[in-house]
Amino acid sequence: MSVQDDNISQKSCAGCGEEKEIAPGIGHALKKITATENLVRVAQLSCGAEYSGIQDEIDSAAKQVNAIMVYPEIDIADVESIEEEFGLKVASPDLRLMMARAKSIVTGKVHVDAVFVATCFRCAEAAIVRSEVRRYIHEKTGIPVISYSFTERTTAATLLTRMEALTTTARRKSLLAREKQTGLTAGIDSGSTTTKAIIMKDNVIIGKGWVPTIKVIESAEEAFNNAMKEAGITRSDIQALGTTGYGRFLIGEHLKADLMQEEITVNSKGAVYLADKQKGVATVLDIGGMDNKAISVTDGIPGMFTMGGICAGASGRFLEMTAKRLGVSITELGSLALKGKASNVKMNSYCIVFGIQSLVNSLAGGSTPEDVAAAACHSVAEQLFEQQLQEVDVKEPVIMVGGTALIEGLPKAVEELLKVKVIVPPNAQYIGAVGAALLASGFINK
């Protein structure tokens, strides 16, 4: 589960909360893909980015998805009156500037296609403004908006998937409006931990493939071949192919895919499709092998989203390590957790190192494996709730997807924390591949 390809790696730290995604070569592939697409104007509403030395990284990420960062025009008088109008009194003038710029977008003074809201990580005042500005723009305009808290270690690679999702939502609304799969198409989701492939024909899944990601291309080919074998077809029968996940560009170029798309838009589409909730609002939660996504969706199109690699303790890796320590397979961990009670185990940390240590100590102190499994699921769910779900508006239905959704204890823990019913659609582990196959059918006539 922890194997990574040389081309893709991600580092995250429980202590500092910083994340890094490094995917050499992605920029080159993206440049080729987006060069022909419309330029997207992204409004930057930020505080501290220029003093943190990361403005060049933001501009660089935007350039790679053929977007340009713009700064909404405002009058000095707008800045002076904004606290009263917006309803938030803040001490930092740059945050007032952010609010004034948001108002400028909402009132139509400036035209932008998407909004990027960013403030310094660990600034409490900025976190409040960031969250409210994002909500204000989303509710008043429907313009896609993403928020991010940065440190001086934030790189263009970290921002790239988010920028790609933001610009895709702005640029490809007609493609994302697709609700039915047509023809014979395939989708491959090259994840950090596993690679999934799906073959669909006339809105029905006819073949599936699932293998651990070892070498990105070889694993994709193996999953793809397995799916084609199950469907009883060959490569030449497939009318369109879509790829997603960390390895999307590598396998997309290798297999000459029609669509190479980041997982935020693809997973949103796949989730509402499989859960049959394509109309109206929904919240999609995807706890991946190495990172998490929380996406607020309207009519299948992502509005607000966060993508964390906040901490390895909030990922599938934490559950995998717990399962290993308990001597059960990851598939057995979920049913074990359902029989246990999380509150019977005292956990001192969410950290993948110290949290596991708490679990080991509990076992040594006489806790049952069932309680420990439940505590592990609760820990992951609680961290997702505390650190990520504040960034999106959680609206029902809540759909949990990805392989971890099948670890029954985890959706149950999320249900208990959010006090809502959590839907785990059939084939939840194939969500990205299904979304890619569905969206790829929009390319059949091209």
Partner: protein, 150 residues
């Protein structure tokens, strides 16, 4: 004398300090050095991710990067400061560092330097404004001129 001004990009304060024969310490001087240096790595101000690390001299890593980046620019000014004028809660057009946390930290550091400091509230009426200018001029007159200091 070398007079630190805050907000440190206030053109009005800069001008007043100069008119009274002192040397203003302003952030424009530091940004100017950065943008005139060879190569432009990170527009607009050429602050790179290395700069917030210099700010660690003043604040620990859990302090936001934007505060530490600002402190790295202010470091040479704070080191040189022999006197300071601090204006509290100015309007944005008077001069602005953008960040309340930076304001707090700079105020605290200046206090620890044991140098002559004039603290004023930004005026809200014309009468207050006259008094504001008068107080600054009296403070500047009370300082030893830059030439004598050399």
């Amino acid at each position: 004398m070398k007079v630190f001004i805050y907000p440190t990009n206030s053109l009005i304060l800069y001008d007043m300090v100069e008119r009274f024969g002192h040397e203003p310490l302003a952030i424009m001087q530091e940004i100017g050095k950065k943008v005139r240096s060879q190569g432009l790595d990170s527009p607009p101000m050429n602050i790179t991710p290395e700069d917030p690390k210099f700010g660690l001299k003043y604040a620990a890593v859990e302090v936001p990067a934007g505060v530490r980046g600002r402190m790295s620019l202010l470091d040479p000014l704070l080191t040189k400061a022999e006197a300071a004028i601090i204006v509290n809660d100015p309007v944005i057009s008077f001069g602005c560092m953008g960040c309340a946390r930076t304001n707090e930290l700079v105020n605290f550091l200046l206090r620890g330097k044991k140098i002559p400091i004039l603290k004023l509230d930004y005026p809200s009426t014309e009468e207050d404004a006259k008094l504001f200018v008068y107080k600054i001029s009296e403070f500047l007159k009370s300082l030893k001129p830059a030439e004598e200091n050399k």
